[in-house]
Amino acid sequence: MRLLLAGIGISLLGLIAGILFSFFRIQSGSGIDDVFQKNGLWRFAPKMDLAANEYQRALIARVGLFALRESEVLYYALTQDEEGNPLSSDHIYELTGESFDARYWSFTLYGGDDFLIPNQENRFALNEVNMEFEDSLKTNYRFHLSKEAYGKNWIPSGDAQEMSLLLRLYNPSPDIYEHAGEIALPQIKKIK
């Protein structure tokens, strides 16, 4: 009887430990490199294999619930500066890049809780429509992530820590799909 009870206890302990282990893996994002690829400092999922890959499904449910398939949108996420530090509203970041061959593209800044960051400007994103370009061909742009107004293109970072910047490319060109890991993405630089 004692042996049986001990066996049940051990099994239960194993079950709980297993649940906690996976939960920690999903929450911490350990194993993120198994499901996302890198393009410079940006991470993206070249294939949203959510039906077959349970870890990817769990991770994407946590950070991007109801994300669309890669055939419709490519998502690129930036969570670190050029020194590998988490993005923080304690700093000002400058990003420079080129526009994308996609039907529509935008950059949205999220707080560590993956929601939009409260700010007085009520501004959360920059996109191909409201971005002020550096040239008449609307190719080059420069924008900032900053607590206070900075430059002509800026996204307020409020008081957020561990922020993430999400680039969405809706209906990107075949060339982008083919070179998703090498296309030119904005370079980030901490300037203050």
Binding site: L3, A6, G7, I10, S11, L12, L13, G14, L15, I16, A17, G18, I19, L20, F21, S22, F23, I26, M48, L50, A51, E54, Y55, R57, A58, I60, A61, R62, V63, G64, L65, F66, A67, L68, R69, S71, E72, R103, Y104, S106, T108, Y110, D113, D114, F115, L116, I117, P118, N119, N122, F124, A125, N127, V129, L166, R168, Y170, N171
Partner: protein, 176 residues
Amino acid sequence: MKKIGLFAVLFLIFFYLGSQMSLKYFSYVLYQVAKNKLGDKENVVGYGALPNEHSRQVVKPNPDFLYAVCFYDLKDGPVRISGNLPDSTYWSVSFFEPSTVNYFVKNDQEFASSRLDITLSTKKLNTKAGKEQIISPGEKGMMLVRILVPDPSPEKLAVYKELQESIKLQAMNLGG
């Protein structure tokens, strides 16, 4: 010594089961949490405003989009989804399983017109109703319509809002 070995094997087996179960059902739990936050209604379309910092039902909302959301249940039969959508901006209609797998997505350029007319069922229907027939892998799931608002000025936004709120889901009467 044998007992320790037996306990170790038991622990490892259940550890594996626990970790697999957790991975498998994590997304189902978040789906249900989102459903609860969005009012826990079925077969009723919800219309969101342009997302801002108060939009905390689903992570990573896109502030450039109006969303129309509907959690559906097809236990009483197929449903018909209709509405008028913009003809000059990106929009898409997507369907998700309770596991959060996106099993269907189609955008404005892939639909024949901006007049939405979809039948949603669990099996192929022998009916002429609906320009587009979508087969849901299960009785339950979620529909999400995204409408890009390139110009959020009050006048333009009002137009997009009206189109967003034209999206309806109704039970289908297949007759006899």
